[in-house]
């Protein structure tokens, strides 16, 4: 007869891969295993305890018999009479413990004086070790206690009381039969309870799943619900929510950036288009054409600078998280930058000083770090009136493992309300946006600085006590870890 197939639809419909089913199976398996081990341990423990207990009881009985003989001998001078009394006592014991199958045996070293009829033959024939006063023995499926009794006339008697193992095995079997239905009950109940528990545990996950399925890159408003229990699932939801916040902010920033970039490109393009259109409407003088072309050229240069800055930002942004291997001395970079701008500052009677203390060696791209310090000094120069001062300082804080570069100027400073926006792309305070100014910047200088500094694992901040009172930019980059030299 073939085995009945278990390929019933119910089995096929169970999602074996689901967390709920797997949790149930794992739970059930764990509980079943624990129960099997427990049952086995109880059985073994009870069996051992019962055997020990029995042996102690039997030992007690033979001692009692020995004491009885002493009593009989004390009350009667007749040796034979007291022995008969003893045998009568033994008979009484045999009959009262018949249901436990006790057997008793009295012998004088070699010959049996009396034995109960259920006493197994191999025990009757079992020789006595005369050197031992009392002992507990185990032979075949029986165990017994034996004691030596010294009679008054100097003879040695031995009494054995024992019982078959089967009696105790029967007790253990009874216990097993009592425990087995409980075990089977648990076996049936465990998967159900496990499934219920798994259901409870995974229900919030189903909720998370449902919300997560609704999320779209274009619609990032939805958030996962937290139940306020602060358990692992709540923490997971909170973490995912934080990630969603971050992503939403990032997407918003990117959209804003694209819009700003388009706007910034449109300015110079419009100017160029208008100038060229006007130039072609009718015949004009050579000077007029030349002027228009120069204007257009100026605008294209501005566009080029803008495109280069955007490219630099993208390049720095893309390589975020990459590791630098080259060492770069920020003191050297600052000195080179000061040398490059020195004469220009001098020409405008701006005191450009540089102060370095300690070795400020960091891991990084020297060109990029030079770009940062150059941008900062350039900014300071543009916003500091003639006769002002710019102080460049580089120090290393060995304790905090940081290199600190500051560029402090006595220029026009920053309005307090603009302080947290100066590093935003394309942010420029009104005064810096003057189109007529040939020194106008692209509005990306400080955000390029921030990108580069953050790429180097550092941070940048700008402080200004107020308009007309100067500004200080602080750049902090982690120092390169000194390579350990083998001792």
């Amino acid at each position: 007869m073939p085995w009945p197939s278990i390929d019933v639809p119910v089995f096929r419909r169970i999602p074996w891969g689901s967390l709920r089913i797997r949790l149930t199976l794992l739970n059930s398996a764990a509980v079943l295993l624990a129960m099997l081990v427990l049952l086995f341990a109880v059985r073994v423990g009870v069996r051992t305890a019962l055997f020990n207990e029995t042996e102690q009881t039997l030992l007690g009985e033979v001692r009692e018999v020995a004491m009885l003989l002493d009593e009989f001998q004390a009350s009667s001078e007749d040796v034979a009479a007291s022995r008969d009394l003893l045998i009568a006592e033994l008979k009484r014991k045999a009959s009262s413990h018949r249901d436990r199958s006790w057997f008793l045996h009295l012998l004088d070293g070699r010959n049996t004086l009396w034995a109960s009829e259920n006493c197994p033959q191999e025990i009757v024939n079992f020789p006595v070790d005369e050197s031992v006063t009392e002992t507990v023995r185990h032979l075949g499926r029986h165990r017994w206690a034996r004691r030596r009794i010294d009679t008054r006339e100097g003879k040695k008697l031995y009494v054995r009381i024992g019982m078959p193992d089967a009696v105790i095995e029967q007790d253990v079997d009874d216990l097993t039969w009592f425990l087995l239905p409980i075990g089977i009950g648990f076996t049936l109940l465990t998967p159900l309870a496990g499934y219920w528990l798994a259901l409870r545990a995974t229900r919030p996950i189903a909720g998370i799943l449902k919300t997560a399925e609704k999320l779209k890159p274009t619609k990032l408003g939805d958030r996962l619900l937290t139940r306020g229990t602060n358990d692992e699932l709540d923490q997971l939801s909170a973490t995912i929510n934080r990630l969603l916040d971050e992503v939403a902010r990032h997407v918003e920033r990117q959209q804003q950036f694209v819009a700003d970039a388009a706007h910034e490109l449109r300015g110079p393009l419009a100017a160029m288009q208008n100038a060229l259109e006007v130039a072609t409407t009718k015949n004009r003088s050579l000077d007029s054409y030349q002027g228009t072309i120069e204007e257009a050229l100026g605008e294209t240069r501005h566009l080029t600078k803008l495109a280069n800055d955007l490219l630099l930002l993208a390049e720095v942004g893309n390589s975020l998280g990459s590791v630098f291997n080259e060492a770069c001395d920020l003191g050297d970079v600052a000195r080179q930058t000061a040398a490059m701008f020195g004469a220009t500052a001098e020409e405008r009677s701006i005191g450009l000083t540089i102060q370095t203390s300690g070795q400020a060696i960091v891991r990084g791209d020297e060109r990029q770090l030079r770009q940062v310090i150059s941008n900062l000094v350039d900014n300071a120069l543009r916003f500091t009136p003639d006769g002002g001062r710019i102080d460049l300082s580089v120090e290393s804080n060995q304790a905090a493992h940081e290199a600190i570069v500051t560029v402090a100027d006595s220029g026009r400073g920053v309005e307090p309300e603009h302080l947290d926006r100066v590093f935003d792309r394309f942010f420029q305070a009104e005064a810096a946006r003057d189109r007529g100014d040939i020194k106008r910047g692209g509005g990306l200088g400080l955000s390029i600085c921030r990108s580069i500094v953050e790429r180097h694992g550092g941070r940048i901040s700008l402080d200004s006590p107020g308009v007309g009172r100067g500004a200080t930019v602080t750049v902090i980059v982690p120092l390169r870890l000194a390579r350990r030299t083998p001792a």
Partner: protein
Amino acid sequence: MHVAIVEDDPVIAKAVATAVREAGHECTWVPDGETAVRQNTLLSNDVVILDVMLPKMSGLEVLSAARDAGVRTPVILLTALGTVTDKLSGFRAGADDYLVKPFAIDELLARIQAIHRRTSNKPTMEIEAGPLQLSLSTKRLSLDGRTVDLTPTEFSILELLMRFNGQVVTRKMLCEHVWSFDWDGPTNVIEVHINRLRGKLDKGREDSYIQTIRGRGYALAID
């Protein structure tokens, strides 16, 4: 000097060709990579300007093929991609120089000349331009026979201007040459030094040896 420009954008090609011809060289325009290979452009010119993004066959492929065939003609790559990896792959393919679009025509002309001089021979230790004599070994300038004291920065600027006598040198090229950093920011860090140089060179003259070309850079104009 024969210069070829391999470039698919006709506006850029026309502008470059015009500028190169006006600088006194001959220039041919090759519109794509396949034509360049078929006509053996790299073999038949003194300097080749090669665009990287070309139809049919990329500039890098054209260059690698020529270098594999043992053609040593100097090549300047043009590209819109300016990342370090792009530049490295260009140099690995055998380019001698690299310019990122958009570029200043003056810079391209200067690079053509520099690369031609570099590959054709002899590093000179003396540069002459009219009454100016610059000794690169002793770092000394003599003007009409008398020594003029220059700061290292001024010396370096004048050196580049004299190398490209009669040609426009951009601010970016000067920054790169003097401070090894292509500063392109709003502050003109070259101007001060140019003015000081003029003060030293132009004593008693009405017009300066060094001309400012508005919006482009500076040029030394001495016959």
